[in-house]
């Protein structure tokens, strides 16, 4: 490969990388600056991080929103992994014509846009609000329930299970483990990377979910982080420094999770494409 071509490759990749990182850097820098400096486009870190943070704590219910988001995301992720991996395992290990057909129907649900479900779902939760208030409108459960099973995740686990060494399952059964034992003792530990990738995807989408929480969570006390930020961003006299601080805090959990599990994540994604 020629030197010129090599140079162009690096130049191009560097430009793309800078464009990708720049909004992040700007967000972090802006979180340390005064509102005026942010609007002026100051690109140097300032000394207002502490002040911005305090203002943020004073002006909105940051901590409750973080707690709401955490509660919803962690529950969703745990339940989703359990359900989807059991389903993916079942579909692949105990294959039959009927199951393949059911699986194809499940895949169809991936094509249904959420916007199309929103109105009937809202009415559904509205009508059970009276009988079962703990899962009705304005509860964490009403956010979690519709998002906990996704065909995508079942598909993801099924694809990965295709690579699973089936002899290990046989060996486990011979040793007298029942089917759940085989699943939890053998399958789960060997599929770590798949679980890691699935956990990141699910946690991120749940943490960042906006539309459905916007619809069902109506009282301010139930608000999640994205709702809080959207609200801050559309206020009439925005304090840009404070908003940027809020965005940094909202992005931290998913960014940290991603960096901590990056290796497993990439490995897991690759396993599913094979």
């Amino acid at each position: 490969m020629g030197n010129l071509k090599r140079g162009l490759t690096y130049l191009f990749l560097t430009v793309v990388a800078i464009v990708s990182i720049f909004p992040f850097l700007w967000m972090i820098i802006s979180a340390t600056n005064k509102s005026v400096d942010v609007t002026k486009g100051r690109l140097l870190p300032g000394s207002h991080l502490g002040q911005n943070f305090n203002k943020l704590l004073d002006s909105v219910d940051l901590v409750p929103a973080l707690m709401n988001s955490a509660k919803i995301s962690v529950t969703t992720t745990l339940l989703a992994l359990l359900i989807a991996s059991l389903a993916g395992y079942g579909f692949e290990i105990f294959r039959s014509k009927t199951k393949d057909r059911i699986f194809n129907i499940l895949l169809l649900s991936m094509m249904i846009p959420f916007a199309a479900l929103m109105v009937p779902l809202y009415r559904m939760f509205g009508s059970i609000s009276g009988a079962l208030p703990f899962i009705g409108i304005d509860t964490a459960a009403s956010v979690i329930l519709p998002t906990v099973t996704t065909a995508f995740l079942i598909f993801f686990f099924r694809q990965s299970t295709k690579m699973f060494p089936k002899d290990m399952l046989e060996a486990g059964r011979m040793d007298g483990l029942n089917e759940l034992g085989v699943f939890f003792r053998i399958y789960v530990p060997t599929m770590k990377t798949t679980y890691a990738a699935a956990a990141i995807i699910t946690f991120m989408s749940s943490w960042n979910n906006f539309l459905w929480p916007l619809v069902v969570l109506q009282s301010p006390g139930q608000r999640t982080i994205p709702l809080l930020i959207s609200n801050l961003g559309s206020s009439y006299s925005p304090d840009f420094g404070v908003i940027m601080t809020a965005i940094v805090i909202a992005t931290l959990p998913t960014a940290l999770l991603f960096f901590a599990m990056q290796k497993h994540f990439v490995a897991g994604m690759m396993g599913s494409v094979k």
């Binding site: 490969m1 609007t39 916007a115 959207s230 961003g233 994604m269």
Partner: protein, 271 residues
């Protein structure tokens, strides 16, 4: 669970799409809602916007992601990990958070305009958010920024499964890098390209967070997305669940049509 939260609501929506009325007082009106679609200027505007997003954004993003992943797949390339992480980083952000950031970056006296003016590329600020054309461009730029890295990961994974000996053989036969790309890479990746183009299409048809948080659908209805229109119909103005359900079905029909087209295009190349 999937039946309870996907298929049952779908049936409900189908029933509701033939009903009309404010709030929960719905009465059957037959096909009236569907007739209304074709004369509803807001609906036509949102469909047009969605088409523009689709036609411009999805091909640009897929070609860009493909190009980047081929470059990154070069075994001799250095700093691969850094580039990969940097380009994937946007996918870590929440849609709402990055939308708010983009809103400020692209505001009239925002950083993008300031920088463009400093390097004298433009004489006066571009009205990124208030001009119908530039507002659409801002949304397209934002979505491309957020999702290119996501698609890139799929291509990278698939590229690593292509046996390197195929490329070696092609090189011996004297194929240029260009020929290798179109004769080997693209055909080998066809299933993944199909997968990403369908998921991107579905994503674009469901666009909501960005539009609401960057432009609020404005100026006028110049950037409003279909999902936002459904949201407005159901929860913002006097709720009209019946008509909202009809618009929902319009999206489902669009997705089915686009998916069939994409399957056809991919299939034809096979033959």
């Amino acid at each position: 669970m999937i039946f309870a939260f996907y298929f049952y609501p779908m049936l409900q929506a189908l029933l509701m799409s033939f009903q009309s009325g404010a709030g929960t007082n719905l009465t059957f009106v037959g096909l009236d809602n569907y007739k209304r679609l074709f004369t509803d200027p807001t609906f036509i505007a949102t469909v047009t916007n969605t088409f523009i997003y689709l036609i411009v954004q999805v091909p640009v993003m897929i070609i860009l992601a493909l190009f980047i992943s081929v470059l990154l797949n070069d075994p001799k390339l250095k700093f691969k990990g850094f580039f990969r992480t940097a380009i994937f980083l946007p996918c870590v952000t929440s849609l709402v958070a990055y939308s708010v950031i983009f809103k400020y970056l692209f505001s009239n006296n925002g950083l993008i305009n300031t920088m463009l003016m400093k390097v004298a590329l433009i004489g006066e600020p571009i009205q990124w958010l208030t001009d119908p054309f530039w507002a659409k461009m801002t949304i397209i730029i934002a979505i491309t920024w957020r999702w290119t890295g996501y698609n890139m990961i799929f291509y990278l994974s698939a590229l690593q499964n292509i046996d390197n000996s195929i490329y070696e053989a092609a090189k011996i036969d004297g194929a240029s890098a260009f020929q290798q790309f179109f004769r080997i890479t693209v055909p080998m990746l066809r299933p993944i390209i199909l997968f990403t183009s369908i998921t991107s299409t579905i994503g674009t048809l469901q666009l909501f967070d960005e539009v609401v948080n960057i432009t609020k659908g404005g100026p006028g209805n110049a950037t409003m997305s279909l999902s936002q229109y459904i949201y407005n119909l159901s929860f913002k103005y006097t709720p009209d669940f019946g008509y909202a359900a009809t618009v929902s079905y319009a999206i489902v029909i669009l997705i089915v049509i686009f998916s069939i087209i994409q399957f056809k295009v991919a299939g034809d190349r096979n033959g």
